[in-house]
């Protein structure tokens, strides 16, 4: 079997044989991504309505459904509306602190059967299997959003404790709730946040996966006919909350 040393030394030898095709540099990185990210946010504090308009436009172009709610308290009503339209009730949601609010009672009151994800891992294998079955059976998945990218209508979700990957993946309908603190304009700006998030070791509750989600799952593999919901959700809803979710 090839070892790390052999493999790397073979690459080093070949690299040493040539100066390359032309003089080239990698992309210039932000030296202080935190500062740059704060500047982005600061600038958006003024420009956010335009960014939101663009987000809605692009999100709808990729077949996302956009909703707007005055405050987080109105969100259960919007969710209930989506559930009613799809004639479904079973919902799984990120753990309340990750979502920014506890909506379970309000959802239950509106006739849904909501279930919150545990705040961390489960030690017991049977319990885990049970939970997976529950997520797989759920028809709606309710999550928060770490970034909403206006340029592409993309939702960025980081996995972690209380925010499992499957909530936005297994249910046929994904509902994501965000406010203007998540809103950014471009993919280039998203790069700054990726630099920031991935510096050094992963912090406490943050998980291994960052997902960029741009509309519902789709395929065109049969005669190039665009079909939605092949593996992931068939519907993606984004609910923009005007009043900051976390007070």
């Amino acid at each position: 079997m090839t070892t790390r040393t052999e493999f790397l030394s073979r690459i080093r030898t070949e690299v040493g044989k040539t100066p390359g095709l032309f003089s080239a540099r990698t992309a210039p990185r932000p030296s202080d991504p935190r500062a740059v990210s704060e500047t982005i946010k600061r600038e958006l504090a003024e420009r956010w309505p335009q960014a939101l308009e663009r987000f809605q436009l692009e999100f709808e172009r990729v077949a996302g459904v956009f909703h707007r709610a005055a405050s987080i308290a109105v969100v259960p009503q919007v969710v209930a509306g989506i559930a009613r339209e799809n004639e479904v009730r079973r919902l799984v949601a990120w753990d309340a602190p990750e979502l920014g609010a506890d909506l379970l009672d309000a959802l239950t009151a509106r006739g849904l059967e909501p279930f919150a994800m545990p705040p961390g891992d489960l030690a017991d294998a049977t319990e885990r299997a049970e939970l997976r079955r529950r997520v797989a059976d759920a028809e709606l998945g309710l999550t928060g959003v770490d970034l909403a990218i206006a340029e592409t209508g993309t939702l960025v979700l980081r996995s972690g404790a209380g925010r499992p990957r499957s909530t936005s993946l297994l249910p046929a309908c994904h509902i994501a709730v965000f406010d203007r603190t998540a809103l950014i304009e471009t993919l280039g700006q998203a790069g700054v946040f990726l630099e920031l998030w991935n510096r050094g070791e992963l912090e406490g509750r943050i998980g291994a996966v960052t997902s960029f989600i741009t509309g519902p799952s789709r395929t065109a593999d049969i005669e190039l006919t665009l079909t939605r919901g092949v593996h992931g959700p068939k519907e993606v809803h984004a609910i923009f909350v005007d009043q900051a979710i976390r007070g």
Partner: protein, 468 residues
Amino acid sequence: MSETDLSVPFRRRAGSALGDKHLQEALTIATTKFIGLRRDAFDEFPEGERLRDLAREIKEATLQHLHRYVEQLIDSVERLGGHVHYATTPEEARRVVLDIAARTGARMAVKSKSMASEEIHLNEALEAAGVIPIETDLGEYIIQLAHERPSHIIAPAIHKTKGQVADLFAKELKRQVAADPEELTRIARVELRQKFLEADLGITGANFAVADTGTVVLVTNEGNGRMVTSLPRVHVAVMGVEKVVPSMTDLMVFLQILAKSATGQKLSVYTTLVRGPRRPGELEGPDEFHLVLLDNGRIRQIAGPLREALYCLRCGACLNVCPVYRQIGGHAYGYTYPGPIGILLTAMLEGPGSVKDLAHASSLCGACADACPVRIDIPKMLVELRREIHEARIAPWTERLAYGLMEKVLASPSLYRWSKPLARLLQRPFARDGRIRSVPLAFTEWTRTRDLPALAPQTFHEQWPTLK
């Protein structure tokens, strides 16, 4: 028809593709659509050209220090608790995956679309070892059921009609289904959802791997990449060693042009960034993460004539615009990677001898280089391959003789002058009204469908003195 037998000469393989009416229609529709989608995407994106230059530069800069970036990637992945493996050959890569499967007691593997795993023929090896491989990209799933190989890098089943897919599902899944893409997709969703939940092993490729953070990046539209990296207890990513990019900032440059080049989307539906196995506190995600770094002929090209082919993002844009691919499709090429870039990658993987015919399967029209998001000069490398093939004396002796003669004539004005009356004499039996409709030797086939102009009664050289 679509299964490829390499013992059949390339020209015959191409010929049967040309005769396949359905394939012709499918190819025209698919490639025309992809060309339009790509064009629209870049028209709407004024920064596109600058980003393509930048992306090209990043690829080159990365290769200039590849050992450093690969080492950084390895360290990053290991710091995250992942395991890194090294494979010089396809055999070694298969062995690594089989060992992981055996050690973890895996019975079923779900795969998201990966050209690297196609390249090492992983499925056959898994099957032989008693692990059931399930392709989960819809196109790949279809061709796996049909026991075929992909015919396009990003649309593996474009050669199949919905009717053929319905028949296939009826036969393999024992279900009567209408020949409706929506319905067929729904059936596949149900079938494959079960597999995702049952499988022990998730196998992916990697569109990119970020050195600085140890992140493996998967770009999909269906969501199977997310399934495969979230649900099974072991995740193995197999990637060509050239897929490493230095930083997240570099990654974003590529993401801005990849989907636009491939399908005309601004961004594919899912871009999944995976950093090692499940973290503490995470409910889901694999317990084990393995990264298999694959050489298979790549490393020696860092300083080789095919260096630029190591920039390739596997977007498929060069296939769609290639006049040859558009006529013959992917299977006729006979190897894992079809189209113009596929010829270069085949030469990289299998050696230049493997492409002695394929190297000529291009009119050198340059449409591929034009469409390539990182502007790979494919025609230049095809010519370079032809040179290697000539110099290795692999070309037939008749051809070498003909070109030897051509050189003698073209390098000598007097020979060139005297060759013309000779040619005029030779063409006499075939030429009529300045046209040749049929002629022996190398041009027989030319004249089957096209007239050849006859040598002019007076060449320009001969006319020049009268033009004073």
